[in-house]
Symmetry: D3
Subunit: 244 residues, 6 copies
């Protein structure tokens, strides 16, 4: 029997979870959830430009550096666990065995909710591949005939976190989360991404502006909830409730 | 200061609220909300075929009959209040004064949430007109310069209730509400609609099938929450939360 | 009791019906339908550039010229009837009385199917207004309480005929009609539009290319039905059939 | 030369064809079509929960049971033939050889129309994979260079049958089929699905409600064709006709 | 004959043009365009909360204050002209005469391009009404029969500027404009909006983040054009070019 | 350092580039671009019906014939280069090595812009697969860790050229290119496609009608640029500009 609430974040590359849902990770961890992060690749080929500009760089050295950063960021967020699938990037590709390893993790975690990328991303096909995979493995984890005897998965929500250029990706948030209480943790995690200083300001600006949207939607011009930092998410499945 | 939670249902014709959100009305009323229903017309011209087939029928007689049915249904649901705007149907049309009367009601109720029709309805343009109106009057009710001194509206959610042929209307529910505890009340309200017996079975079938969707989305094949009757709604605005 | 099949074309401006569904009019007329054309305006302000370039032109003279052309085209197509609403164009606007006159016509014709413009047209707001009107008046014509005693309308299909730049209008044909047998009639009707010779070639090209689509969809690369001229239409409502 | 009309249903899992198009199968069979059903998998892993809850169950035993049910259902519907591809489920995957086997079947059947799942299904990626496959194999079957000498495929319509939660799948029916004459056969086929009694009522409710939509679209409030059971389908390709 | 390039911005409320396209106005003015701003209302009822919170405020006093701010902002941007239609807000409504006054302005300016709001805005129906109006009046201005003798309008692009919550409005930018050279002017114009200090930071953050998008789309990870501030726009009509 | 402007066309089958962007190739070549065409397959199985109807035809003979035609067409257009990937068609499939070969070509060309098929094509899954591939390989070519030391790709626009039935493919052009100056070259290239004479007229009609759209969008009814032949394209990514 499972008493603890849990969450599973499926991140195509090592750093994605920091920018896109670092606040959600830290906040739910503080609320007693055990949040596990699955990094399908290290982003070693496609998202490590700064490292590759150094002389004599090797693929393994890039992976090691990216892994260290991701672990530091996960720690800064207080995440319960971080797992690396090392499935390669640009392009990201998981074969049948790798998919089943992800299914194993889903069943191990039994997440209350899951998170992944937007449905569509014409700039980065790894991102939409990860989301496709998240839906497929969620389905396999629900199958009674997959590793019979294991506890099958229920019906966790899948939240799509914010992509880089939302309008180009057709991503539309239907829920805003107030991350003000954990902003310092997200900021610390962001600062672990040493090769990407140019994005620090970007994601700080974004969190401030999403807080404006939070305030608008919680109170209109009459004055809403005074959030200072927020994150937005798009839900894949309908909610089931006892009160609207 | 407002302590009580409230809701406002904007119904194009007198009977719409019964089929489409009778369960939500009864359920929230039981939970302590004061739910007000606004009937913009009686559906006297376009949704009263049975009455018009009687000899010597007049417009006033149809209105009276439809009003009586709607009041009986509202009572069966335990609704706090029902208001009639008598704005005419097929087509429904509200002039500036009538719009402002609806704004007055919105401000009087100060709803925690609002409800109306789907965005689109190629079978019934009154329905989509009512939704357009709900959005417009919500905006006016938020304006500090409209009747200065009155309490302006906050940012209530607008839920779009289920239209008759959902796929033709492009309506997509993002929340299912378990109405099992109040099904008998909804059934009683449905039975107040004497001219439309052929729809009684239709909406009972629908409530049962929506409960299947509730179960699927609350637990998948692993077995979800055992709802027996449910209603679905589409949210217009994003939610603002402290926990996903 | 109605034995004859009928159709009603609702055209925003006097010439629209010629280019967009002249073939369908002629073909169905040959098949025994009585096809009525409703021209909501003469296109006198916005679609009569050539006439306005003449010295001393007046609004009435333009209307007369456009009406004469439209009547000649209707005759060339063998249409049963053509009615002019003279509601003005750029912008087209029908008040309540004019709408009810259109409802009267719909009930008089009792169309087996109706035709109008695309849902969307950012170049010409009269076109989308006409479609909105067609849906609204179809609804009113179905109301038992509108002019009680008249025969109410059933549920005729509404076909949206082809707009000028289909992709910009989001128009998608779901049915292609072989108009080869009546092409000479459509050509004759097109030639009645003396002020718009530059469009003669355009719509001939289009009819030939739509025939290619007809062939593709009737037989693929294996070789389909040898249509030489075709028109495409988008259906608003689902069909009801006994065989697929 | 082919005189007989034929149809081909491509079903991801063994039971899909029963719920979603059992009526269409039985009806067209009665009208003289030879309807062939292709079951790409038995649904042995993902759609056989009840069997897996039994002690000592094996994959082969599940497959056998599901196959027997599917064969019984096909017989109840009077289907011409049922073929099993045993390609595995959760996830369903066909390699090049398996795809070509499906192409072989398409060419063998030379279907007047084809049927498969909705384009999109975030709950069940096997379903959308089957549709993708149906489109791909339809294309290959049309290629003159694939197994030269065989009769190539024409341009059969592909109907998408009704998924479980239509709005979540973005499925929109454009044709309703009256299955009243064969309802008892569909009911008998449904009752062959012994492990899924909870769905018997669901799909009976659905068939009744789709009949309401059939009536609405065949006659409006004026009273349409008195269908009591119906199924809905979405067409992928435009129709080609001689009369609207 | 017209030698000077011109632009026309159609703004629903007095301040909209500042936040949404202040950079485009200042930049094109510097490039030799004459940019005219049309403020359809002062935003006196719905976007002047701070003023209404003052004792004894009147509608005229609010209008005067908002007009002064808008004029100061237009001056800070170096705009060629600003015109006020005083058509009222919440709701904004233009009758036939007011529409024709807007048509007069369009013909007077003969804009090389036009600007207005997003197509859709469920928070603010005035915004989408202004866009609808811009399209309708653009069409009327093209009509040879409207005020015959005047120079008719050509086919200027209509750019939709950025709404407040882009994803909720379904707005998708297809062009980013580097406004770095005129940022100080936009900043000065923003600072004219004394009642809305909370938005100063918001729109500065936004301009910085749009510059990130500019850099990404001009050069990818390889390093693009070093814009520091940018604005995004959605085009309504296709472009016509001699080189891609 | 790269001084010359370049373009890369990714064509699923050998003949696609001729019909869909032959004008763009010839025009940009005349303007000093070096345009390279990548034919992923020869269309040997699925788009060579006429050849397969000859006795004793073999796959190699079809490939040779199609290659010769494509080379002749490329020459007629004055294209800089044409490369054949021979990856097979119906279905088209590129494994990891073949993808990387395409990445190599992209890096070799360093295109100012790229071209490929529409996002969606229910008639021809090879087409949408080619577009998916174009986006994926564009991403890989941007990765600093892919073949470190090579020059990485910038952010070239990806234009989607016109599919055969635009509305069925959901393709929407946002730019029209005047190809009048090179029409004779495109015509010559079209005439290289000896097996497809029935398409010569089709694509001539289309080019004439697209020129009408060019004229409309460059000048409205006031009279636009007098293009006689045009091609349309849909952009995947936003543009970045200094002037609108």
């Amino acid at each position: 029997m499972q008493d603890q609430k849990t969450a599973l974040v499926i991140s195509a590359h090592a750093a994605d979870f920091v920018w896109r849902c670092g606040g959600a990770i830290a906040l739910h961890q503080e609320k007693g959830y055990a949040v596990t992060i699955a990094c399908l690749s290290y982003g070693e080929r496609g998202e490590s430009a700064k490292l590759w500009k150094q002389d004599g760089m090797t693929l393994e050295a890039v992976k090691d550096a990216r892994r260290a950063e991701a672990e530091a960021a996960a720690k800064a967020l207080g995440a319960h666990d971080i797992r690396f699938f090392d499935a390669g990037d640009y392009p990201l590709e998981l074969d049948r065995d790798a998919k089943f390893a992800l299914v194993d993790l889903i069943r191990e975690v039994q997440p209350t909710f899951m998170m992944s990328h937007s449905f569509y991303d014409p700039y980065n096909t790894d991102h939409m591949y990860a989301t496709k995979l998240a839906m497929e493995c969620r389905m396999i984890a629900q199958a009674w005939g997959h590793n019979p005897g294991q506890t099958v998965l229920g019906a966790p929500q899948l939240y799509l976190f914010e992509p880089h250029q939302t309008e180009q990706m057709g991503w539309k948030p239907d829920v805003f989360l107030d991350i003000t209480p954990v902003w310092e943790k997200k900021k610390a995690a962001i600062h672990c991404m040493e090769g990407q200083e140019h994005l620090w300001t970007y994601y700080t600006n974004l969190a401030e502006n999403r807080a404006n949207h939070f305030r608008r939607n919680s109170g209109g011009q009459a004055g809403g909830r005074p959030a200072r930092y927020a994150e937005g998410f798009q839900s894949v499945y309908p909610r089931t409730v006892d009160e609207l």
